[in-house]
């Protein structure tokens, strides 16, 4: 196509936005960008998770590494993560990666003294930094009649004790899934559905009903006033071709035409609670920009070339 500019500027429209769930439309971009965004959201947005556990006392039924594994998977509120440093890159601490700039310290002390089983939950983890705490999952506290509980780590019987110190560090999902902030990220092409009205007229009401029923998800419905088949929810269409097969089976192959718009995507982002869903998307865009920047800047090598030449000459000469 002649005259298209190199640059396309995408448009975003938000459908739903909650703390841990976001549904939005991304238009005027291509599948590779949408997929890049999805991949970065899952694996390269940094969060904070427990990485090092020092256990002082553990007389519970689970062994040490089991408990350490469970602690690592607890989601921690990670707003600080983007501005924190990776422990390996931190030059403030003396190499053990446990200074205040690159890590957050937690401790947990639980001992069961009553006859009732004690649930050790994520609420018993005390943090040294009040901005990095285990995620609180009680947004519909009305339904849980008991107190807000938290994620159960281990259950203790009378006399059993658990005492430990944990260090949480910044990481990305690529290293270990505990650092992934996304529960699920999906995108689908936006469907465009055209009903051929003339062919639809030639169907009886029962045939129309059976056609509407043939779709596994509710895409079509019969309008009660006009007795016409209308599209009630185009996005419920999952690109199974059941309705097309049904139309062919009924002997009317062109009854509906369904296209996937190639440059229009509907994203559904669910976060684990470590980062808000909207913040997750923004961080993902930021990380994608940083990666592209790294590739772009790594090409600037002209001066270094000269330096090399001099060094080489020096070596070979003397």
């Amino acid at each position: 196509m002649e005259g298209i500019s190199y640059q396309r500027f995408p448009k975003v429209k938000i459908r739903e936005l909650k703390d841990d769930y976001a549904k939005f439309e991304l238009r005027d971009t291509d599948a590779s960008m949408a997929n890049a965004l999805r991949r970065v959201m899952i694996s390269e947005v940094p969060t904070i998770a427990i990485d090092l556990v020092e256990i002082e006392v553990n007389s519970s039924v689970l062994n040490d590494e089991f408990i350490a594994h469970r602690l690592g998977l607890i989601p921690l509120t990670s707003e600080r993560a983007m501005s924190m440093r990776f422990s390996r890159d931190c030059d403030a601490c003396d190499g053990d990666g446990q200074c205040e700039f690159c890590s957050v310290e937690f401790h947990l002390r639980a001992k069961c003294i009553s006859d009732q089983t004690l649930d050790v939950t994520s609420k018993d983890l005390y943090s040294s930094d009040h901005t990095v705490v285990p995620v609180d999952f009680t947004d519909n506290a009305g339904y849980d009649s008991t107190e807000p509980r938290g994620i159960i780590i281990v259950k203790l019987r009378r006399g059993q004790e658990l005492r430990l110190r944990a260090i949480a560090r910044k990481g990305i999902g690529k290293d270990h899934a505990k650092w992934s902030p996304a529960a699920t990220v999906t995108f689908m092409y936006e469907p465009e559905i055209h009903i051929n009205e003339d062919l639809m007229e030639s169907l009886t009401l029962e045939e129309k009903l059976s056609f509407v029923e043939s779709s596994p998800t509710k895409v079509f419905d019969i309008d009660p006033n006009t007795q016409q088949v209308v599209v009630v929810d185009p996005e419920a269409y999952t690109y199974d071709d059941e309705v097309l097969k049904k139309a062919e089976a009924m002997g009317k192959p062109g009854l509906v035409e369904i296209y996937a718009k190639e440059d229009s995507f509907i994203f559904t982002v669910e976060s684990t609670g470590a980062i808000k869903a909207s913040q997750l998307v923004l961080n993902a865009i930021e990380i994608l920009k940083q990666k592209l920047d790294a590739v772009r800047l790594s090409e600037d090598t002209v001066e270094a070339d000269d330096q090399f030449g001099e060094l080489g000459a020096h070596m070979q000469g003397g």
Binding site: Y6, S32, L288, K289, A294, E299, M315
Partner: protein, 161 residues
Amino acid sequence: MKVGRYNLIFYLKICFPNDYWIQFHPFNSFVSWFGDLEIGLKETMEHGSFTDNSAATFSLTDEDHTIANAVRFTLNQYPRVTFCGYSIPHPSEARVNIRVQTTGDPAREVLKDVCQNLMLMCRHVRCTFDKAVEDFKASNAVKAMKIDSQDSSGDDSEESE
């Protein structure tokens, strides 16, 4: 000559601090090093020819399909690029080879341009998303206020009865 080159590599690894990673390649001595960038070191090797710089293969370490596919797609939209593709030599190694062939422009410049354009697009998406979130919150706040005012006016009328 060859002996001299190998000595050069050995010499560099001793005298430069561990933070800087320098890769020497026999064909094109393109060297990349980073200082304090938080993302870490990115090593890119360009396999090309000295005489014709309109065609080259860029080997990026610590990269995968995420940016390779996006760069490849965008490059294929450019009229001045005759060929663009990417491959991953081995799935266990985090390395991507991007091949670019142009109608005369240096391949390195074209790659830089496409990274620039993609970054611009990211910036735009970010601004648009921010704005969309604000609009959504504003419209929700208005709806919530309307519901509240309806509820309260409803309660008043009930109480008065």
